[in-house]
């Protein structure tokens, strides 16, 4: 009750301890992931990847699927040939998975920064008790940046159609007029400039924000707060542009012929709700270990509301993109959904249905009531399935364009996601130990401790 409890910052400092046992468990998970990955790659090289693999059905099935898809294209004006059809190599599946996870986890990491920035920009009080958790996430950008760069340099042509040899060269047998027309934006140099440039801004702004935030613990006062608001404002501006551009660069340009004006929003909303789910899950797991006792059900309620609202926002954007394309019924646009619905021998149809269920109906129904949003177990279940659902969402965005009919859920997929997830947990846990879990001199801390909804 307001006025009763007196909050004194001196006794609230709390340090997360990343115990050697905890480290061991994360490392074991990492090793298990690597083993599964190696086994998966071995099976893949033998042509039997396990899981729901359909690659054995071979090109016939894929072609059949494609013909079924093209029959629907009454216009037939566009010859849509995904990269996968021409240049398929079994190793492509590994690179596609690396790319998928690198993009997915980059998103989670940068949403940590976005969340903190948004709280500063709106001068929100409630979140100041838990801002150290999302603040630790962007550390993982140091891992994903080299991975993205390596895949781009060495295997970019396995992922991006526009990087194939000769597609922009007049007279070449691979010459593609549509791609040549986009080459002003989609070329290796400009792609790299955007990737490295925005990453430098992201990491740079995060480093400054983190430094000032830790300084605040020592000095206090409101000067640092105003500086943090300014840094956050700068980041939001950068992120507004970069999140859209990265959505075009990293994901939309895989289906080079295709485009959607909704795509920037769509990928951002997917990243955002996943990031919120990861923040919530991290806080709940920390609370289970006895940390963050001052984060009570009122703060959890707010996090639950954010997950609920942004699940609906994702659905809105996803459906908006679908509806416009479905309604207009233009062959060059609708191929994207045909590929995912009935193309490629229908291997993506189950994922597509499952994804909409997990990302909309499930959180919508589970998190609807006030009590559910204030109960830890409901939040945990919802957050976990939101993360799984959005992994499948990214799978659906990337795999059909890169692998076509050769994709599946096998040991490679499970191994790769385990490797990335355990690395993420390790890096973030390690970063969490570097500062007090509560920003004890945050000017809004007393407000957050008395948060009551």
């Amino acid at each position: 009750m307001a006025g009763h409890s007196h909050f004194s910052p001196a006794n609230v400092e709390e340090h997360f301890e990343f115990t050697s046992e905890g480290k061991k468990r994360v490392i074991y998970a990492f090793i298990a992931g690597v083993v599964a990955l190696v086994l998966g790659i071995y099976l893949l090289s033998k042509g039997e990847a396990g899981g729901h693999e359909v690659a054995n059905a071979g090109h016939e099935a894929v072609k059949a699927g494609h013909e079924a898809a093209s029959e629907h294209l009454s216009g037939g004006a566009v010859s849509h040939q995904p990269a996968a059809e021409e240049h398929y190599d079994w190793t492509n599946r590994i690179w596609a998975n690396v790319w998928l996870n690198a993009v997915f986890f980059t998103g989670i990491a940068i949403i940590g920064m976005f969340f903190v920035s948004l709280q500063y920009l709106t001068k929100s009080g409630w979140s100041s008790v838990m801002k150290r958790v999302p603040e630790a996430f962007p550390k993982f950008l140091y891992i994903t940046l080299p991975i993205l760069l390596l895949v781009f340099f060495f295997k970019g042509d396995a992922i991006f159609h526009w990087m194939h040899h000769g597609v922009t060269e007049v007279g070449n047998e691979n010459y593609d007029k549509i791609i040549a027309g986009k080459s002003g934006y989609l070329n290796k140099t400009f792609f790299l400039v955007r990737l490295v440039g925005f990453f430098a801004l992201w990491i740079g702004l995060w480093t400054v924000l983190r430094k000032k935030s830790l300084e605040e613990d020592l000095i206090g006062g409101t000067d640092l707060f105003t500086q943090l608001v300014r840094i956050s404002t700068a980041f939001i501006v950068v992120f507004g542009a970069s999140s859209s551009m990265f959505a075009w660069d990293w994901v939309m340009s895989i289906d080079t012929h295709w485009f959607s004006t909704m795509f920037g929003w769509y990928m951002f909303s997917s990243w955002h709700v996943t990031g919120l789910a990861v923040i919530t899950l991290t806080i709940l797991l920390l609370k289970d270990k006895g940390y963050m006792a001052y984060v009570n059900e009122n703060h959890l309620h707010d996090l639950g509301k954010l997950m609920f609202a942004f699940s609906i926002f994702w659905t809105y954007v996803w459906f908006e993109q679908f509806l416009l394309i479905y309604y207009a019924n233009m062959p060059e646009e609708i191929i994207y959904f045909l590929e995912r619905w009935e193309g490629h021998n229908k291997i993506y149809k189950t994922s597509e249905i499952l994804m909409v269920f997990l990302n909309f109906f499930f959180p919508f129904l589970v998190l609807m009531t006030r009590d559910a949003k204030r109960t830890r177990i409901f939040l945990k279940i919802a957050a976990f399935f939101i993360i799984v659902g959005h992994y499948i969402d990214f799978y659906q965005m990337i795999m059909p364009g890169v692998l076509g009919g050769h994709a599946g859920y096998g040991l490679v997929e499970f191994g790769m996601v385990t490797v990335f997830a355990s690395a993420f947990i390790y890096i973030v846990s390690d970063e969490l130990t570097k500062a007090s879990l509560i920003a004890k001199n945050h000017p809004f801390l007393p407000e957050a401790v008395h948060h009551d909804i």
Partner: protein, 173 residues
């Protein structure tokens, strides 16, 4: 609040004081009818012991009603009454209808909720609010105690309890 009921009113001039007074008065076994304040006070409803509102349930019902009405109307007109082909789609083209269905759901929920809220609070055009004390619309906080519902405690004890808990004046209405 009909005039036949007997109320004892404790008037306070500070929100923190009234919040503390609530638990103090309750601890003496006195049932509080309601507390009137010029602005919302966090934790007051819980302190008084009000039950949570059931408006969200009404909201859900209105939402379901709106969804059903919108879908029924559009499917009756577009499929049964006068089938029309739009954009080469089936008559029963559910994706096309989702925006309308969504709007119908929101519209019914919003209007239904406001109307339910007004009805349950006796708010309708021409109704004169029966204020226990005019100052609750300005800067005073009033704790109302229904004498008839507090048979076990004498009126004098109630008045004393209110005074002790910091009321600046105690009135009977």
């Amino acid at each position: 609040m009909s005039s036949t009921t007997n109320y004892i009113l404790g008037v306070y001039d500070d929100e923190d004081e009234v919040l503390h007074a609530v638990s103090e008065v309750k601890s003496k076994g006195i049932k509080i009818e309601d507390v009137f304040t010029p602005f919302p006070i966090h934790g007051l409803d819980r302190a008084v012991g009000h039950e949570r509102t059931r408006l969200p349930i009404a909201a859900f019902m209105f939402g379901v009603l709106g969804l059903t009405c919108a879908l029924s109307l559009i499917s009756y007109t577009m499929v049964f009454d006068w089938p029309m082909i739009i954009g080469g789609k089936d008559f029963f083209a559910l994706p096309n209808w989702i925006p309308v269905t969504f709007e119908g759901t929101v519209l019914f929920t919003a209007f239904g909720l406001v109307i339910t809220f007004c009805i349950s609070n006796n708010l309708y055009p021409g109704n004169q609010p029966d204020l226990l004390d005019l100052r609750i619309t300005d800067d005073k906080f009033v704790m109302a105690i229904n004498v008839d519902k507090n048979k076990k405690v004498s009126a004098d004890d109630i008045k004393k309890a209110l005074k002790d808990s910091g009321a600046i004046e105690v009135n009977v209405k």
